[in-house]
Symmetry: C2
Subunit: 305 residues, 2 copies
Amino acid sequence: MRMPTTRATSSLQMMPRFHPPYISPSDSGTTCFQATRRRLGYLERSLGNEKMVVKVYGKAQAVCPQRVMHCLVEKGVPFELVHIDIDTMEHKRPEFLQKQVALPFPFFPLYVALAFSDPVSFLSHSGRSPTSLTETWSSSVNTFSLTSCESRAIVRYLAAKYVDRGPNLLGRTLEERAKVDQWLDVEAINYNPWAFPIVFNLFVLPIRGLPANKADAGAAVDKLNKVLEVYEKQLSKTKYLAGDEFTLADLTHIPATRYIVENCGLSHLLDDKKHVKGWWEDITGRPAWKKVMSFVETGGSNYSP
Amino acid sequence: MRMPTTRATSSLQMMPRFHPPYISPSDSGTTCFQATRRRLGYLERSLGNEKMVVKVYGKAQAVCPQRVMHCLVEKGVPFELVHIDIDTMEHKRPEFLQKQVALPFPFFPLYVALAFSDPVSFLSHSGRSPTSLTETWSSSVNTFSLTSCESRAIVRYLAAKYVDRGPNLLGRTLEERAKVDQWLDVEAINYNPWAFPIVFNLFVLPIRGLPANKADAGAAVDKLNKVLEVYEKQLSKTKYLAGDEFTLADLTHIPATRYIVENCGLSHLLDDKKHVKGWWEDITGRPAWKKVMSFVETGGSNYSP
């Protein structure tokens, strides 16, 4: 018995590459709700097999996309990296701004965005019926996107969304999460304002052949060193910044610090602090981070665990 | 029938102002567990009535404590403000650093800390039995504290802890929360770096009779204006920054922006932008914010809803 043609099935028939047919003969006799659930389940499985549901927009070498990719790899979530050439300000072009993939904040050249086409989460907060969901979903790519300079908001979201996969990166209680949030803000407010001008002046501008402000870089090195002295005290008490487990608070530090250590000739800032040095070797030795580095170095576009 | 004296009751007897006696005659004949639960319930009620369980350390006029106090008032949570004189660097003294009430980050003079002595949340994550809890609790003031410059981590924690009280400030789904987190980071990373030097140079230094850097302030005004142009676009689409409900993303902007509007002669930055102006009037018209202003102006130390 064939199911009657409805708006929903018409919509699905228009979608390519759904073989075998999404409605099997055994659907006859089930309730409409059960059949719809089954169709939705098949759609989800098909998506999982055939379609990438997470897209990261950014430049592979940039700090913010690396944070997001590291979080996805820790969680074992496949993703597609959509390369954006931030050097040519591609992310400021009208087609990106119109799509609202980017928030057009001035002064901050770093860029990362994330787009989901995920029917499950869309269902959970749209309140629509599954039937209308499939139609809505088919045009919902980019419906949910997080953008521009808020890589920390993106990794917070990913760690919560995939809380049952991979390591816990957010803390298990409100109090643990508060400590993670605290050190995420420490990174954003107390660490990155000095790390950024160091990397920009001692690595990014030189490789572009542009003049750097070495005085700015020198002042930032002194300030970052004082911040790292606070880290040394913290890491003498806890194995990681927010406690005794690796969390987002550690993860967000890695990409910029790697450039400082490997490309700015400043590895001594970490090496002369016993606990910071041990922490750094630990967090950069994680298999997930090594996979990110391999992915970046080989120019990868699609990551599968 | 009197209950036998135990370590727990000894501990409770030492605590002042618990009238009537925490064990009533009707406790006779109940199981040990029921009696302990009843004693704990009475202790919690007594705490709610007679003892302040949330302490905010900071200066009432400072931006960070005002964020935290506003969140507590929105949630209807009583608190004690422990005045810290940041002008004399009281928070950098050894007795504070030893208590780890402050993380000693350099370069950031603003300060807020939060201490809980809350038997309920302590129970929920300590895994201890209620009997030992009461003993542990009695020495657990400052066991959980969030400190120094991370007012955004504190309000995130409070909004999650008191999610069932007052307005929802964090979003109801992961996607809504991600938007709130995104705009919290926008405030911290794109807005505050310009708002801070404006308030510092045009208000804080002048009232202390110290020379201000007007060039720095002028450059910051230009940059903040460009950021506010982005806000104008966002607020033409949604009533509040992260959507159509007031959230922490709006709340965190208020204290510094109030100084810019009321004390730096820069109200035109908001007034000449239709949607920003409407948003500003809306969020500063909230009863909770008005209560915070009244509390600050009257030099309050204890807030009760």
